[in-house]
Subunit: 320 residues, 2 copies
């Protein structure tokens, strides 16, 4: 038997960082997934394989308990937190294929968590609703990271295109737009916790300035929601570019991100901005006129991929 | 006989572009000048030499009138506008030594204009007050460029460190700060007129967003005035960095400027931002802890120079 769960990554299109200060954000699940495969074993071993980071780790179940003693390895933190939520009595192989750059602000840890929850629940015969999966995954992210936005785990569970309002309610964005995006990412990774902290410190030092900047992002995010609904391509791009400058002003931009952004804009992108926490990581580019050309340019310059909205959240299949 | 006038260039430290929208700005005259030398000739020729741009141009005075027929050459536009304000009956050599990059947002055209007014006034025995020089120079800039801020010509005439308030009144900033700055500039030049226009178009499209951004610049410029008066070095740098992000958000940043800015910041600069209209041109860097190191780094990367506040405006000397 083989249990497989696929869970999508995400892109924040507008409003990263300001969500922490009760401002809205717009984000989408993308058609790049983490695919987690579970194959039961006949022994008491749990063999975890993550090919993309050459991770191969073996645990043993002794007297119904799993011995987690190990070195701290970040992706395992999420996996072990998932295991601890279930009553696991039988060994298995767990192969986690991460088709997303890790730690690049694209929700890879949420997708690992959600897909692992889905396969382990199935394996241990626990019936979880999507709501329960999303909640469990969010709590696990909080346990591991201390702070976590519900956006990543919600999008990885439900899929789709969302507007998070000022009360943190998730609202679905309904649009027929063909939103083909390009994501490019550097090897340099930002540390989300440190970046959230640095914005907090800046906010404490310059509250009046930062409040004004956050308000400006709020206004443009609300205009972006309408622009997406009305398929106003120019407006979407312009607002992405303005949002990028405001992210730069709060100190989360880097030379690597800025270079990729200007390469894309100079090639005719409508909009280009960092996505996620910044300080490294990824940019998202909207170039409806020449997506392929800019994708190829960015992919020479750094790593890049094309992404579209995924309306599918986590999906589980079982092969006998 | 030789008449020489030196007139300083300028740096806008805070508030470029938003001054057009009745927001304040902070700017200073710098110890980099245009030095214009006039030597009377025995004939009716006017020989204009601008060594830094290999310009060598000859006019003739015929029946007391100067024949300006020529190809359009931008620096000559200012010089001819100056000539037309005076009654010139005798030929002369005019050597204009421009010790500033041209068209890089550092007030070179104002310094050419002011220094040329000063020598021609002296040569034609017209006694002009500084107020009259500043006014004439500003009008000449308007004639040539269509739009012109009074900041450049005022600083080139009077020197010093100024806060331009929301009613466009020039207020002197009084501070004991040792404001050693670094200016770095690219070969790529921005076109001030086009950039002012592009911000205007953005403002017309997104008035609510741009108003919020301009208000934010106003708040930070007012805080910067206090920071300069109180010699709060960290605050000065932080506010420069925030201002830079806001300039990026209104679309006047470029990859070349951004690269220089991040090179400076990554080397430990307290603040780094574009200065002037952007779209190319110059950045200004404040790095009180390691000015020399960052100057050298930037000067390898692009052209750079160190600059300080010049309290001297235009100065005229006559050698017999």
């Amino acid at each position: 038997m083989e249990i497989k769960a696929s869970a999508p990554g995400k892109i924040i299109l507008f409003g990263e960082h300001v969500v922490v200060y009760k401002r809205p954000a717009i984000a989408l699940a993308i058609n790049k997934t983490v695919d987690t495969i579970l194959r039961p074993r006949d022994d008491n071993k749990i063999v975890i394989v993550v090919p993309s980071i050459n991770l191969n780790h073996v645990l043993e179940i002794t007297d119904g308990k799993i011995d987690y003693s190990r070195k701290k390895l970040s992706v395992l933190d999420y996996i072990y937190e998932v295991f601890s939520q279930f009553n696991i009595q039988q060994g298995f192989d767990l192969i986690i294929n991460i088709n997303l750059p890790l730690g690049a602000g694209l929700g890879s840890s949420a997708a690992v968590t959600v897909s692992t929850i889905a396969v382990i629940a199935k394996f241990t015969n626990v019936d979880l609703s999507k709501k329960e999966i999303a909640k469990m995954a969010h709590n696990i992210e909080i346990n591991v990271q201390k702070v976590a936005s519900p956006i990543d785990t919600a999008l990885s569970t439900y899929g789709g295109f969302i507007y998070l309002d000022t009360d943190s309610n998730v609202n679905k964005i309904t649009t027929d737009i063909n939103l083909e995006l390009i994501v490019a990412y550097t090897q340099k990774r930002g540390n989300t916790g440190l970046l959230v902290d640095s914005v907090k410190k800046e906010y404490e030092k310059y509250p009046q300035i930062l409040e004004n900047i956050f308000n400006t992002v709020e206004i443009l995010t609300n205009q972006a929601k309408s622009a997406l609904e009305n398929q106003d391509k120019t407006l979407i791009g312009d607002l992405m570019n303005i949002n990028q400058g405001l992210l730069d002003s709060i100190g989360v931009n880097t030379i690597e991100l800025s270079d990729m952004i200007y390469v894309a804009r100079n090639e005719g992108a409508y909009g280009a901005k960092l996505t996620g926490s910044g300080g490294g990581g990824s940019i998202v580019v909207y170039a409806p006129k020449n997506t392929k050309q800019i994708f190829e340019k960015l992919n020479k310059f750094e790593n890049a991929f094309k992404a579209e909205i995924s309306s599918n959240g986590v999906e589980v299949t079982v092969k006998y």
